[in-house]
């Protein structure tokens, strides 16, 4: 390995580190859980709503997720690789669990950094 390889490797690690730290320090505790299927918001609920939820397609359950202790975790899915089940549970703003085969995205949003693409305003 040449010296420039080490420089390249260090540059990449630095970029990854900066990216990670930026994401971590700019993230705040989430307050709402948004569930998207095929890029459509199908449901949303506060992070406090503990319980088990399932997403169905034509009557059959394709994914189950659990909200517990202010974290969301996917517990069951019918996709072939089940990567969504293995993904870490999420709790902070901006974090998401994605099931690409089913095109399901479960993400956490907080009031302070609001995703303006879907709603202009929400009244509570």
């Amino acid at each position: 390995m040449k010296k420039s390889d080490f420089l390249l490797a260090s540059a990449m690690v630095t970029i990854a580190l900066v990216w990670f730290l930026t994401a971590y320090f700019f993230s705040s505790k989430g307050t709402m859980v948004y569930v998207y299927k095929d890029n459509n918001l199908i449901r949303s609920c506060p992070l406090e709503d503990t319980g088990e939820y399932s997403i169905e397609d034509n009557g059959t359950t394709i994914l189950n997720y659990v909200i517990n202790n202010q974290t969301v975790d996917v517990t069951f899915a019918t996709c072939p690789d089940r990567l969504c089940v293995f993904q870490k549970s999420i709790s902070r703003d901006g974090e998401s669990i994605v099931c690409l085969p089913h095109k399901i995205v479960i993400k956490i949003v907080s009031d302070t950094s609001f995703n303006n693409e879907d709603y202009d305003a929400i009244s509570k």
Binding site: A9, M12, A16, A23, L83, F86, S96, K103, K107
Partner: protein, 173 residues
């Protein structure tokens, strides 16, 4: 822009076949870290040695053929889309990096691994229409680097042994 001859056709077909086997073998190895998109990338060994032995254009042909064939055999339309994006971006970046002559094969393969992941990430972002992939990027960069180093080591070993078959000034090891 290059002449086609029987020798090239034979070599390209052989390499595509070997790359297909590598893709298949990778499916057999359970490599599950719970992070989508982290895989060994064994078929990238073929991509890299193709760039070093035959140049970027033929390497691109080999990669696209391999992805299409393995997609039809083992995958589905979306897996083809992801792999195409990652594979093509990876070949382009690797060829550019190699042309600068400033990096060894390890630098080239690290870039290949990282940009393969970035290409797939871009397709994923477009598919699910989410711009926020906060924590995922760093993971892909680091795993791309590590797998790239491994693939680089394997490619180097292969190239050392194949050196006598081709023009030795085409090969940097």
């Amino acid at each position: 822009m290059q002449s086609v001859n029987n020798k090239k056709i034979a070599y390209v077909s052989l390499l595509v076949a070997i790359a297909l086997i590598f893709s298949y073998v990778e499916i057999l190895i359970p490599f599950n870290f719970g992070i989508p998109g982290v895989k060994l990338g064994l078929a990238n060994v073929i991509s890299i040695i193709s760039i070093y032995l035959f140049g970027p254009y033929i390497a691109l042909v080999i990669v696209v053929l391999r992805i299409l064939l393995s997609g039809f055999l083992f995958g589905n339309l979306y897996s083809i889309l992801y792999s195409l994006c990652g594979g093509i971006l990876s070949i382009i970046v690797m060829s550019v990096i190699k042309k600068t002559n400033k990096f060894s094969i390890y630098g080239v393969s690290m870039c290949g691994g990282v940009f393969h992941n970035i290409g797939q990430l871009i397709v994923a972002m477009i598919t699910v229409n989410q711009m926020k992939i906060s924590y995922y990027g760093p993971i892909l960069i680091v795993s791309g680097m590590i797998m790239g180093l491994l693939v680089g080591f394997l490619s180097n070993q292969v190239l050392i042994r194949l050196k006598h078959m081709f023009d030795s000034d085409k090969i940097i090891s």
